[in-house]
Amino acid sequence: MIAVTEDMVREIAQAAAITLTPEETAHMLRDMQEIVQFVERLKAVDTEGVQPTIHPVALVLAMRDDVPAQGHPREALLALAPDAEGGYFRVPSVLGE
């Protein structure tokens, strides 16, 4: 049995790049405790020597001809961005002061 703790919720939220208010943290803790307890029933299944399923259908490696194709112009793609300048995406400071 794994006990989900408030510290664990904070750590996971940080890894998922989500901030939670103290109220939301408490709510998320309750929800996650409940869900994790539910999915832990999988422990009862004997999976000794069983291969994991990564994909539901057997796939063959598909090859295609290496033909140059025209993508969208840079301006059209940059126009979708919240902020862009001089042909680049614009973001706030990355390295700090």
């Binding site: 989900v4 998320m28 996650m32 973001v91």
Partner: protein, 484 residues
């Protein structure tokens, strides 16, 4: 009786013959939406150019050009599928203003066959939910009873078809999101074999589960539309590299002598009226000459737990792309890049999405990966093995689509486990990539629709449709429609 009660092949024939025009159908869609959509709430965006497109189709006929198989049919599209020129919101604030530059492959195929696009339909945010209540924008009501949900996540697609606002709709099904809303709204929802329909241009939720499906009022309509959608596309390397096989022409084929298995636990802990309708449906199937046996699949009761972990983990990975940089929501007054990521995601995503991203990140994190993610992948193998054993002896697996009819708003929204339980009969088909359909099987005492699920072995899409069609033709459940 409206124009949209007529079967699709007949509508197409009448338009091709000039008895009816695409403009009349487009006008019917507009009229119907204006009459009922304030009460249903299916549409997130309507196509302003609908009439103009219909007129172009009319001109095309007048010029004597070849006309497509879906000529003039007004279709609705779930808003996680890209239609060039229209919004693609996924019912999320994150993508509230996003307009894609391309059509999804499925939209290219519908366009090539001269379908009309009426608009974009509501869904649970990023297709995560079973009631369409997690949409950031609006509520969609069940046309049979406005106090109940239309199901989800393709709730807008199902409600629009049931309310006759469109002739058919596209949805997506990762854990039951086409079949369960079809069951709740008294229509047909078909999820083909994983990979039959290319996913390129469909916003990824859980990539090893995501499947495009068709919602229509009858099995024959669904098969007819499906035939225009399946087949390999090189832009989706997970689409199946095989020749497209037409299914519509095979409907009506004799189903006598087929064998159907009913998982024992699918008849346990379900609503008594659902149980009664499904038992009647099994009787109808026997009357069609299909042998029906109850079987036991030892790992089926773990399907929901395995699905919850795997779909959340895949979602956590897929939704990492939403960072507020290249597209999507960006809040004001940001100091640095880390704050940009977290604030864009925290304000852009709703609670259910956050809950799943949290669970997925948890299941993939160091120290928990083996006990949760890897374990769930192995249980997925066990479930596939169980299903393969059944399909060695049987042609079909049948049972209810959902354990209950449509439930009330807010009834399950704050209880994730209760909400996830809705999917317990539909997720097995996604875990194993199998084709499955929900077809109307009657009503509850309070007049809510109940669906029968028919599932086949991988690539047996045509057989699933044939049996569903035989069932439909032996019953009259699909004929009743909501009063609205």
């Amino acid at each position: 009786m409206t124009l949209f009660d007529e079967r699709i092949p007949e509508l197409v024939r009448r338009m091709k013959d000039g008895e009816l025009s695409p403009v009349e159908l487009a006008e019917e869609a507009i009229r119907r939406i204006e009459d009922v959509d304030t009460r249903v709430g299916s549409f997130l965006e309507r196509n302003d150019a609908l009439l103009q497109s219909a007129e172009q189709l009319l001109d095309k006929r007048n010029r004597g050009e070849a006309l497509g198989a879906l000529y003039g049919l007004p279709a609705g599209i779930k808003d996680n599928i890209a239609v060039k020129g229209m919004k693609l919101t996924c019912a999320s604030r994150m993508l509230a203003d996003y307009r894609p530059l391309d059509d999804a492959v499925v939209i290219e195929r519908l366009r090539a066959e001269d379908a009309l696009f009426v608009g974009k339909l509501n869904l649970d945010e990023f297709a995560m939910g079973s009631s369409t209540e997690t949409s950031a924008f609006q509520k969609t009501r069940n046309p049979w009873n406005p106090e109940t949900v239309p199901g989800g996540s393709s709730g807008g697609s199902a409600a629009a078809v049931a309310a006759r606002e469109v002739v058919f709709a596209l949805g997506t099904d990762s854990g039951g999101s086409v079949r369960q809303p079809a069951s709740f709204t008294g229509i047909v929802g078909f999820k083909p074999t994983y990979g039959r329909i290319p996913r390129t241009g469909v916003v990824a939720f859980a990539s090893s589960f995501d499947t495009v499906g068709v919602l229509a009022k009858t099995v024959d309509d669904a098969a007819y539309v499906y035939d225009q959608l399946h087949g390999y596309d090189e832009r989706d390397t997970t689409s199946l590299p095989r020749d497209a096989e037409a299914t519509f022409a095979t409907l009506g084929q004799d189903v006598r002598g087929l064998r159907a298995a009913v998982p024992e636990e699918w008849l346990e802990n379900i609503d008594p009226e659902v149980k009664a309708r499904i038992e009647e449906a099994l009787g109808v199937m026997e009357g069609l000459g299909i042998g029906v046996d109850v079987v036991r699949l030892p790992h089926l009761s773990y399907a929901e737990a395995a699905y919850t972990i795997l779909a959340s983990a895949e979602a956590a990975s897929n939704l990492a792309r939403f960072d507020g940089v290249r597209y999507g929501f960006r809040p004001e007054g940001i100091a640095d890049i880390d704050e940009l990521y977290t604030r864009a995601r925290s304000a852009g995503f709703g609670w259910e999405v956050k809950r799943r991203l949290m669970l997925g990140t948890f299941a993939l994190s160091a120290g928990r990966y083996e006990d949760f993610y890897l374990k769930a992948q192995k249980v997925r193998t066990r479930i596939r093995e169980d299903l393969a054993r059944v399909f060695a002896d049987y042609d079909l697996i049948v049972g209810p689509t959902a354990p209950t009819p449509a439930f009330h708003f807010k009834e399950r929204l704050d209880d994730p486990l209760k909400m996830y339980q809705n999917d317990r009969f539909t997720v097995p088909a996604n875990l194993a990539g199998l084709p499955a359909i929900s077809v109307p099987a009657g009503f509850s005492g309070s007049g809510l629709p109940i669906g029968l699920q028919i599932m086949g072995d991988a690539t047996d899409d045509a057989r699933v449709l044939q049996v569903a069609y035989a069932f439909q033709e032996a019953t009259l459940h699909h004929v009743r429609r909501p009063a609205l």
